[in-house]
Point group: C2
Chain length 358, copies 2
C-alpha cells in the first residue's frame, strides 16, 4: 500500500539480501516511519512480543519468516516454534503459520531453503486472502451506497488495515476496494486505547490513501450509531471460533452491543487462518493481559517534534490491561472471508469451509 506514494507491505524480504527480513516498526507511527531489520529468530520474536508488528495475519507472516531466520541460525525448528508461539497468546494465525512451517519442512534437508519458500507462501496466501476479502466486503458497502445520499459511514475499531496484514488489511480491505472503485466512503476511526492503533495506524493508513476519515474516542461510537451516523461497522479479529464467536481488540464487544441496539450491521473480516476450528465457545479463548504501563503512560510527539512518553494517571494508582474481548456470535451480522460472506454461526461457516471438521 501507499506510503508517501511508494508501495510498501507490512513485512518483506530485502531485495539485495535474502537473509534480511524487513518490517515497519509500527511503534513509532504515525510520527516516524522506521524500517527495522530482522536478522535472527530473537529479532522476530521480540518484534512480535513487543508489538513492532501486530495484527493477527502480520503476526503470522512474521512468525513464518521467524522460522526461516531460525533455520539460517541452525536453531532446531521445534524449539523455534515453541519460542514464537509463546510470544502472544490470542492471535491464532501465529500457530497457523508456525505449524505450517513445521509440517512443510519436516522432511526437507535444506531447512533454510524450505522455510524461506514456505514463509513466502504464507505471506502470499495472506495477501491474496485479504485481496479477496476486499472484493467480497466491497459489495456490502456498494449495496449501502445505492440506498443513500452521501458517503457510506463505516466505523472500525483498532487497526485491521494493511499494517496488520502485510497488504490490503482485513477490515480495511473492503474500504480500500470501495474507495478505489469510486464509491464515496467516510471512516470513523476508533482511537483504540490503550495502544491507540486506530488513532495512530488506521488514521495514518487512510490518510496515506486519501480516504476521508475522522478519529473518535472509543466512547463515541454508540452515540454516533444512535444518531444514524454509522451505516456499518467492520472490524478484524484475532481469533474466531467455528461457532462464530469473535475475539478481537478490547472494546469490540461494546461496539457490537451498540450496533445491535441501533440496528447497524456489524461485520467481522477475516482470512480462514484466523478461524479456530477446535474451540466452540469464545469464552475459552485465552485473553492476553499486558503491562499496566501501557495504560498509565502514552507516547506522542511533543512540540519540539520529539517522541515523548508522559504519565496520565496518579503514579500510585494501579491499572489493568486486558488486550482483547470476545463478541458473542449473536451480535455479529456476518463474517467477510476470502471465500465470501457468511453468517457468524456453525452452519454458515461450514457452508464456506466444508473441508473443515468442527
Amino acid at each position: 500500500m501507499n506510503v508517501d506514494g511508494k508501495q510498501y507491505r507490512g513485512i518483506w524480504v530485502n531485495e539485495r539480501d535474502k537473509k534480511l527480513i524487513q518490517i515497519i516498526d509500527q511503534r513509532h507511527l504515525p510520527h516516524k516511519f522506521i524500517i527495522e531489520d530482522l536478522k535472527t529468530l530473537d529479532d522476530a520474536a521480540i518484534a512480535i512480543k513487543d508489538m513492532h508488528v501486530r495484527g493477527a495475519p502480520l503476526i503470522g507472516a512474521t512468525a513464518g519468516y521467524g522460522m526461516y531466520l531460525a533455520a539460517l541460525e541452525c536453531i532446531d525448528l521445534e524449539e523455534a516454534a515453541r519460542k514464537l508461539k509463546s510470544t502472544r497468546p490470542t492471535a491464532i494465525d501465529l500457530a497457523w503459520a508456525v505449524d505450517w512451517q513445521l509440517k512443510e519442512t519436516k522432511d526437507k534437508t535444506d531447512k533454510a531453503a524450505a522455510t524461506f519458500e514456505t514463509a513466502n507462501k504464507i505471506t502470499e496466501e495472506i495477501v491474496e486472502q485479504c485481496r479477496k476479502i476486499g472484493q467480497h466486503g466491497m459489495k456490502l458497502i456498494e449495496d449501502i451506497s445505492r440506498k443513500k445520499e452521501g458517503p457510506v459511514n463505516i466505523l472500525t475499531h483498532c487497526n485491521a488495515g494493511w499494517l496488520a496484514t502485510v497488504d490490503y488489511g482485513t477490515a480495511t480491505a473492503p474500504i480500500y476496494a470501495a474507495f478505489d472503485k469510486g464509491i464515496k466512503v467516510h471512516v470513523w476511526v476508533d482511537e483504540t486505547r490503550p495502544r491507540n492503533q486506530g488513532a495512530r495506524l488506521t488514521a495514518w493508513e487512510l490518510l496515506q490513501h486519501g480516504i476521508p476519515h475522522t478519529i473518535i474516542a472509543d466512547n463515541v461510537g454508540g452515540h454516533l450509531m444512535q444518531h444514524g451516523m454509522v451505516d456499518m461497522v467492520v472490524v478484524g479479529t484475532d481469533r474466531t471460533t467455528y461457532t462464530g464467536d469473535v475475539a478481537n481488540k478490547i472494546g469490540t464487544y461494546l461496539k457490537a452491543l451498540a450496533a445491535k441496539d441501533t440496528n447497524v450491521p456489524f461485520y467481522v473480516a477475516l482470512p480462514s487462518s484466523t478461524f479456530d476450528w477446535k474451540t466452540s465457545s469464545g469464552m475459552d479463548i485465552p485473553i492476553e493481559q499486558r503491562g499496566d504501563e501501557e495504560v498509565k503512560y502514552i507516547q506522542g510527539k511533543d512540540n519540539s517534534g520529539e517522541l515523548t512518553k508522559v504519565l496520565l494517571t496518579p503514579e500510585k494508582s494501579p491499572a489493568a490491561n486486558y488486550a482483547f474481548d470476545v463478541t458473542p456470535a449473536r451480535l455479529v451480522t456476518g463474517l467477510i472471508t476470502e471465500r465470501g460472506v457468511c453468517g457468524a454461526d456453525k452452519e454458515g461457516i461450514k457452508k464456506l469451509y466444508p473441508e473443515k471438521n468442527g
Copy 2:
C-alpha cells in the same frame, strides 16, 4: 474531602476575603494541585467553559458564585445569567443555579449580599444532597456485600466524585459511605477519554481516600462484566429527563448496554437539580461538541516532571469530540437521589418528587 489529609471542597469562599472565590484548577490533576482564584464573572465563566471545574453540580455551584462575582462588579444579573448559561450546554444544574439566583435576588436592593447568600445556599444544598445520595446508595452496596465473598466491585465512568460536586460526589458518594462504614469495595475506574476524568480525577480522589481501585481503558468494562468481575455500575449524570433518560459523559451508553447484556445492575446517582422536568426524551438533550484538540493531544507528566502536551494522531487527521451521550431509561436499573432510590421512569421519579409537574 481529603487532600493529603486536609479537608477540601471543590469550591469555597476564601476565609479572610469574602470577595474571593477559590477552586481547584482540575486541569492539572493528578500531577499538580493548583488552587485558582475567581474574582470576576469572567473568571467564573472561563473556569466553567475551559473546564477548570467540571461536573454538573460543581458547575452549578460555580455559576452560583459567578452571579455573586457579577453582582460585586455591578454587572446586570440578567446579562450575567446569559453569559454563564452559554458556557456549557448539557449540564442542567447550570441553569438551575443561575435561575435560582435570578429569582431569589430579583427584588433585593443589595444584590451582592443577596447573591452571596444564595450562592452559599446553592452550595450547601448540593453538599447535603450528595451526602444523602451516599447514604441511600450505600445500602445497595451493603446488600451486594452480604451476598458475596471479597470486595464489592464497582465500575464507574468519568468523575462524578467530590471534585465534580463540591463534596462527597454523586456516583462516588455511596462508595465513600460504604468504605467509611467498613464495607470492602474495589472500584474499576474508566479512564474516560478524551479528557481522562476517570484516570486523572476519580483515581486521584480514591487514592487520597485510600479506596482500592484499578484504572482501565474505556474499552475494558464489557469484558470485565462478561467475566463476573463487576458487581455494580454507578455513574453520575449531566441531565436526566423526568422519564429517566440519562445524559452523561460520552461512553456511558456503551457501559449501560454491557451491564444489561450481562445482568449487572446499572445505577445513576443524581441530586434533584440534575433532573430536567421539561424534556421527555433524552434524544432532545443538546449534546456538546468540543474541540478536536482534546482528542488529538493529551497532557501528561514527562520524565523530567513537567506537564507536557503530546500529539497522538497524524497531524492532518481530523477528530470529532462529542462530550456526552444518552443512555435510554430502559438500560438503567435505578436512580439514586437525595430522596432515595427509584426506577428510571416517569412513575418512579414522580413518586419521589410528587411536587414536580411533567
